[in-house]
Amino acid sequence: MNWKTPRTGGLAALAAVILLLPLALANNYWYEVAILIGINAIVCVGLNLLVGYAGQISLGHAGFFGLGAYGSAILTARYGWPSAAALVATTAGVALLALLVGRPILKLKGHYLAMATLGMGVIISIVIVTEDRLTGGPDGMSVPAFTLPGLSLAGERTWYWITGIALLAAVWIALNLIESPAGRALRALHGSEVGAQVSGVDATRAKVGVFVISAVFASFAGSMAAHYSGFITPGKVGFFHSIELVTMVVFGGMASTFGAVIGAATLTLLPQLLTVLKEYEMVVFGAVMIATMVFLPRGFLPSLMLELKKNRK
């Protein structure tokens, strides 16, 4: 194994961070933050494949996250399904939905694509809020713990390790895809769609494929979030959270899987730190969003790499 390649080096570094982080986590609150970071990171790694590598836009990915969360929640809480079955069914359901809506949506480009994904996300969140007999409406609903035969997965420590392993798996899968012929085709689409098409890449099929994968990542993370918190609300399903996710990906640097993880970490941490500012939180968060995009348009990680390269010369 070549430790020097960005891939193995990065995976090793991530594994090390996950292993050693508990030493720095003082109490349950910080464990919770770490788990939240991990969950957001999984969504962002998937979203980054769509936005960063394939060059598409999605302003509605919180919708998939929400479907994953509410799908698992409803099947287990209202219908008594076993958690694993609910997880599989929910993930498959979201994949199918993404496949069906993906095809017409991804024929669109630019702002029209942005609007379509936005609309999709808003519709999902409105449905979730309105069908309150199933979902508990704006007040949310409680979710039973994730159980496997003889085992109930609950508690901050347990979920920390589950999230850590899931994140490592997500990053590994994403890296594999990027470095494969399929991944190359996606990057080619981003580079020049017509150039890729004449090389034999079925643009729509490729875009739908990566859309479905990113939806599955988001849905899985949503299911995890639901079982971990034991309670879900529509707060994480709407337009605002979709924008948070995209901002995390862009901030971390598009076309960078590890960047997506860093972006998720930074922008999950930020609101936690900003709560001390109380009523100034929104103003500062908005200002930070503007400032980072104005001064670091390529994202944090690529700008950092560029600076390091310059200094090395």
Binding site: R184, G195, V198, S199, G200, I213
Partner: protein, 259 residues
């Protein structure tokens, strides 16, 4: 000829009220170098875009190797053995030169997603072979020095050849080049000339849209002349050079351009 490799019948394309290509018909034999020439605005690039599926024709048919391919999408035509380059090279600047060429092999690679995500061992071997073949192609078009280069660090002339290398990656039967010599100097043009001849000798049918008359007359087995979207004349270089209609079309345009 027996079965022409490409048979175009009454192909037309209208954009709004403008008939860019008007009832064009011709046959192309395999393994020859064919050129499409004509004054600016004659519809050459539009014709090329029609043949390669970028535009859908308003009417008419295209048959490739005997099969009707009218209206097929670019990636479907690529699967049947058609490849092309563009006037403005459509290079993937977000990738390396080698990776650009590897994309050309897309249809010959294992592009299954599940295997990709789980990183099967077969994939790793296939990747190695893919890189090797891509490197070979880079050398074939004379870009051996750019084996480790990033696409965005390469000069314009090299990019045109890079696109050809990518197009060759799919082992095409028919290669269509849109102004391969545009923007190139004398030496680079000669290199393109030699490359085209090499390709035709190796069995690839080449179709060239070009303005550079020296290149066209020197390398072509067959020339098609377009004017105002219509076929003006076709034949050998000798035949076309002396056709009065062709001379008028070019001289006429030159006069207008001089104003």
């Amino acid at each position: 000829m027996n079965t022409p490799q490409l048979r175009v019948t009454a192909l037309s394309k209208a954009f709004g009220g403008v008939l860019a290509v008007d009832q064009v018909s011709f046959d192309l034999a395999p393994a020859r170098v064919n050129s499409i020439i004509g004054p600016n605005g004659a519809g050459k690039t539009t014709l090329l875009n029609l043949l390669t599926g970028i535009y859908a024709p308003s009417s008419g048919t295209v048959a490739f190797d005997g099969a009707d391919v009218t209206g097929l999408a670019p990636h479907q035509l690529a699967a049947r053995g058609m490849a092309r380059t563009f006037q403005n090279p459509q290079i993937f600047f977000n990738m390396s030169a080698l990776e650009n060429v590897m994309v050309g092999r897309h249809l010959r690679e294992r592009s299954g997603w599940l295997a990709a995500m789980l990183r099967s061992a077969r994939l790793k071997t296939a990747e190695r072979e893919s890189r090797a073949e891509a490197a070979e192609l880079l050398r074939f078009v004379g870009l051996g020095e750019y084996l480790d280069a990033e696409a965005d660090a390469m000069p314009y002339g090299a990019l045109k050849r890079l696109e050809i290398a990518r197009a060759l990656g799919g082992k095409p039967k028919l290669l269509l080049l849109d102004e391969p010599a545009a923007g190139l100097n004398q030496t680079e043009t000669q290199a393109i000339n030699a490359l085209i001849t090499r390709l035709a000798k190796s069995g690839v049918t080449v179709v060239l849209v070009e303005h550079n008359m020296r290149l066209v007359m020197g390398v072509s087995d067959h020339i098609l002349v377009l004017d105002y979207g219509r076929k003006l004349c076709e034949g050998t270089a000798e035949h076309v050079r002396n056709d009065p209609k062709v001379i008028e079309a070019y001289l006429g345009s030159a006069e207008q351009a001089a104003c």
